[in-house]
């Protein structure tokens, strides 16, 4: 018994700090949120007893459901566009000469070094009425009056895609790069044309990457709130904004907490799905 503990001691020493970190900064806040979600809101914007399920029940409400489905739709659109745009990118990088791949990946990651609010603000200056695009187009006479680009749903979608594209590209890249080149040669040898090699071999074999890319795009896209505020003018409500509002302006913490937990639940389900597909993949 004793020597068992001795064997494990190094393990505890190593994962101990990480465990402590997770406990303090992840587990504790999570418990706090769960706790709040069962409390009621008091008149001053704080929380009070008694314990109640009221916040959860109030989620079942037409306007919340509308916001929810709108958010899911936006995330879905974002994910699909990211996949469509990201796949060719990932493909080109994975097939570039080895010595160039690192650099190309770095270029994909480069924007992360700048705060994303600032980057989104950059789009703002490009798209707004008196922004760069409109003034250029007007000065060369293609349009006579400025196009309404900012504060539209399209602008929100653009911002989301821009923000999340690297999250899609990386897993796609990883799975395309893993692809055994001799399989492509075999397909070609057996008479497959380039499009068929893609549909019959490359695409199905990079399915895990496509799936991982989708999940890694979809999950963060649900929670992003500042993009819809900065690019959509906050006029259209999404889950992210809704949660933020519950905490900061409407001061209904229990409702905000319940909404957050709902979001976490969706994420967990998707993650579970993800690992399940991953383990199926290993078996094949």
């Amino acid at each position: 018994m004793k020597h068992k503990w001795n064997n494990r001691l190094p393990m505890f020493v190593m994962i101990g700090p990480a465990f402590l970190w997770m406990a303090i900064f992840v587990l504790a806040p999570l418990c706090y949120v769960v706790g709040i979600s069962f409390l009621s809101k008091d008149s001053s914007g704080g929380v009070m007893f008694p314990l109640t399920l009221a916040s959860y029940f109030s989620l079942w409400n037409e306007s919340f459901l509308t916001i929810f489905s709108r958010s899911l739709l936006l995330s879905l659109q974002t994910t699909i566009i990211c996949l469509a745009v990201g796949y060719p990118f990932a493909y080109v990088i994975a097939n570039a000469p080895k010595k160039h791949r690192g650099l190309l990946l770095l270029l994909i990651m480069l924007p992360f070094w700048i705060n994303s609010v600032i980057r989104i603000y950059g789009w703002n200056t490009l798209l707004r009425q008196e922004g760069v695009i409109n003034s250029v187009l007007m000065s060369i006479g293609i349009i006579s009056s400025p196009l309404e680009m900012l504060y539209t749903d399209g602008a929100v979608l653009l911002g989301m895609v821009y923000e999340l594209l690297p999250f899609t590209i990386l897993p796609l890249y990883a799975s395309i790069e893993k692809l055994d080149r001799s399989l492509l040669e075999a397909a070609s040898d057996l008479g497959a044309t380039k499009p068929h090699i893609f549909t019959r071999v490359i695409f199905p074999l990079t399915m895990p990457g496509i799936f991982a890319g989708s999940i890694q795009t979809f999950i963060p896209s649900l929670g992003l709130f500042y993009i819809s505020e900065m690019m959509g003018g906050g006029s259209t409500m999404y889950i992210g904004n809704l949660i933020k509002n519950q905490f900061l302006s409407a001061r209904n913490w229990p409702l905000g907490a319940a909404l957050s937990l709902l979001l976490i639940l969706i994420t967990l389900v998707l993650m579970k799905l993800y690992t399940k597909v991953g383990s199926l993949e290993d078996m094949a």
Partner: protein
């Protein structure tokens, strides 16, 4: 022999500055089992990949049934490949793997089904139709790979060390199965291996390559019994290679001198003062205590090594060079230390011209070394 089904004319392949296939000329006949044999890195795979269309040809032409295939992609060539690592599609069942080529050709579903079933029967994989490649052993994957290629009725099947990953027993079994399959179907096989025994047992003809150059092409017997270059003599089986110098060419044959003796051999096409190699296989080399006409090569029996069916004897020649000979166990052996005369039946030894180039190198090197020594 009719028109060759594959013809390589002065084919050169360079990777960057590096020439890995050098002016290769090769005719492959319809229906033959041709093996490309050579040490690792000699360009076998590269040659095969150029025929399949995976690699471009730097210089020269490749003809398939008389047509230049320079501009044809792999999917437009009537050849199929069995890859060394099998390259089975991991996301498809055995059945779907085998059907891949027919689906590409838009063959009717019912016909695909029937032909796949026939193929599966032929390679003895009945009952495994629905398995995924990951659930199969190396030998079974190999069969799938062969079936997947053969179902397209290719004019030529290219096989790159298809048996390399199998254990010895399975390997032997697959060797004979492949050979029978080839004879039965009458398809031309171009087979790559670096295993000489495999090459000797399976091939109709063997093309021996070395350093991107075709050294010799011929039947297994020709390659074994009448090697045309020192490399072939060395690479195929075991050989004793003796350096010799032609002192005299006369009616009776050529007189050669070695560091440790001399001999008179019947041979034509050699000139006086030429350097030659004498190549004799251990099983053809003999020894005796008596004098032998025309042979005057003496050595001392150094050791006998028992290796089962035969006994191997090492004889040390006067120069210190060791030659090996094998003799049936029943033969009486001379005691170690006996002074013997070695000889061989003239039709069992091969005399080769040394490549002049090599000779010049030798001379140059000697001069350089001497020059260097003087300076020092």
């Amino acid at each position: 022999m009719g028109e060759p089904i594959i013809r390589l004319v002065n084919v050169v392949k360079c990777y960057h500055e590096n020439q890995v296939v050098k002016k290769l000329n090769l005719d492959i006949q319809q229906g033959e089992f041709l093996t490309l044999l050579g040490p690792s890195g000699c360009g076998k795979t590269t040659t095969l990949r150029m025929i399949a269309g995976f690699e471009s040809v730097t210089e020269g032409q490749i003809y398939l049934e008389g047509n230049n295939v320079a501009d044809l992609k792999p999917n437009q060539r009537d050849v199929n490949t069995v890859f060394q690592n099998y390259a089975l599609f991991p996301h498809m069942t055995v059945e779907d793997n085998i059907a891949f080529g027919l689906v590409e050709k838009r063959v009717k579903k019912s016909e695909i089904k029937q032909r796949v079933a026939e193929m599966i029967k032929m390679v003895q994989l009945e009952g495994m139709e629905k398995r995924m490649p990951a659930q199969m052993s190396g030998g079974q994957k190999q069969r799938v790979a062969i079936a997947r290629a053969l179902i397209n009725n290719p004019r030529v099947l290219l096989l790159d060390e298809p048996l390399g990953a199998l254990d010895l027993k399975l390997r032997k079994q697959m060797q004979s199965e492949l050979k029978h399959l080839q004879k039965r179907l009458g398809i031309t096989f171009v087979f790559v291996t670096h295993d000489q025994e495999e090459a000797l047992t399976m091939s109709d003809r063997i093309a021996v390559m070395n350093g991107g150059v075709l050294e010799q092409i011929g039947t297994p017997r020709e390659i074994y019994n009448r090697p045309e270059t020192k490399f072939v003599a060395d690479f195929i089986g075991e050989s004793n290679v003796l350096d010799a110098y032609v002192t005299e060419v006369s009616e009776g044959g050529i007189h050669v001198k070695m560091e440790f003796g001399d001999a008179v051999l019947k041979a034509g096409g050699f000139v006086e003062e030429e350097m030659v190699y004498l190549c004799v296989r251990p099983e053809n080399l003999k020894m005796t205590k008596e004098a032998v006409p025309n042979f005057n090569i003496y050595g001392t029996v150094k050791e006998h090594i028992f290796i089962g069916s035969v006994c191997k004897t090492v004889v040390e020649l006067a120069s210190g060079l060791e030659v090996k000979m094998t003799s049936p166990q029943t033969d009486e052996l001379y005691a170690v230390g006996t002074r013997v005369n070695i000889y061989w039946r003239e039709d069992q030894g091969v005399i080769l011209h040394t490549k002049e180039e090599q000779l010049y190198n030798l001379i140059e090197n000697t001069v350089q070394i001497e020059g260097g020594m003087h300076e020092a």
